[in-house]
Amino acid sequence: MKALLGSLAKKIKGDPSGNEQLKAFISNGSKDSEVIILSNGKKYRVSTSPTEKAVA
């Protein structure tokens, strides 16, 4: 069965640069959030906390 994968996550995973940055973030257990920049210059903040959304 397909696991959770939202539309923004799809965009990041579909971009080679974004996917590499996402991998780096995932392997780094100490960071709570990270800004990922895609090849087209768009920036996304990946965070382990839903409160980041409210702050942003």
Binding site: K2, A3, L4, A9, L22, K23, V46, E52, K53
Partner: protein
């Protein structure tokens, strides 16, 4: 009359109940509701009854047809007193009989899918009152009330081998459940691993250097090999 025919007739009458149940309880070809066989069979019988009542009272009158209950009962009890007139009535209406059962199968499937969508719509989370009884499904598709804005899942799995334990990290892509609704295996993308001992060897070493990437697109881990799983929901927002 052959003794097998009433059994066949009853089976054909009950099949819509099983079709409804199957359509209602399956997502991506995996059943998300586990019931004992006796409960499942009883429910299928009940669903079939409801479907036939719906067809007989609502759909058939629209097309100007009606059920000849006398012949139906004779067929059900395997009566030997079926007259030539009854047989003629049956043979003259074979297309209608086939159409009735075909439409009952189709209606059962459509209603099953529709009811499943309604249940998911009104009970979207694991904690919802009428949620399906498959916790893994809700956990791994992010359908928890507190994670409704999550975008993807980071999975950390501790796997023990003979001499060492390894920690696997990755993005959860797919998962498979067994017939009991338990997790059978998980599929990770962008997977990395490191021996668990590396946690203590050099705490100042950057985390990325303690891991090594597993070459490949998808890593499949069997649940029976996993000692524990850490699920981390990740949230993504677009920065201005």
């Amino acid at each position: 009359m052959n003794i097998a025919f009433p059994a066949f007739f009853i089976l054909v009458l009950i099949i819509p109940g099983f079709i409804f149940q199957n359509a209602y309880e399956k997502v991506e070809n995996t059943s998300i509701e586990k019931k004992p066989f006796d409960v499942s069979s009883s429910l299928a019988f009940f669903y079939a009854l409801i479907l036939h009542i719906l067809l007989i009272t609502v759909v058939l009158p629209i097309f100007g047809n009606e059920i000849n209950y006398e012949i139906c009962i004779k067929l059900l009890i395997g009566s030997k007193s079926i007259s030539a007139d009854d047989l003629a009535a049956i043979s003259n209406n074979i297309p209608q009989v086939i159409l009735y059962f075909a439409s009952s199968f189709l209606l059962a499937y459509v209603l099953g899918r529709l009811f499943q969508k309604l249940i998911f719509y009104f009970n979207p989370y694991k904690s919802s009152k009428y949620a399906f009884d498959t916790p893994w499904y809700y956990e791994l598709t992010g359908k928890l009330s507190e994670t409704q804005n999550a975008e993807l899942i980071k999975l950390s799995c501790l796997v023990e081998s003979k001499n060492s334990s390894f920690l696997y990290y990755g993005v959860l892509e797919d998962f498979y459940l067994d017939s009991e609704g338990e997790l059978n295996r998980v599929v990770l993308s962008g997977a990395m691993r490191r021996p668990i001992e590396s946690d203590d060897s050099n705490p100042l070493e950057p985390a990325a250097e303690r891991f090594y990437e597993i070459k490949g697109d998808r890593l499949i881990l069997k649940y029976e090999d996993i000692k524990n799983i850490n699920i981390e929901y990740l949230y993504i927002i677009e920065e201005q």
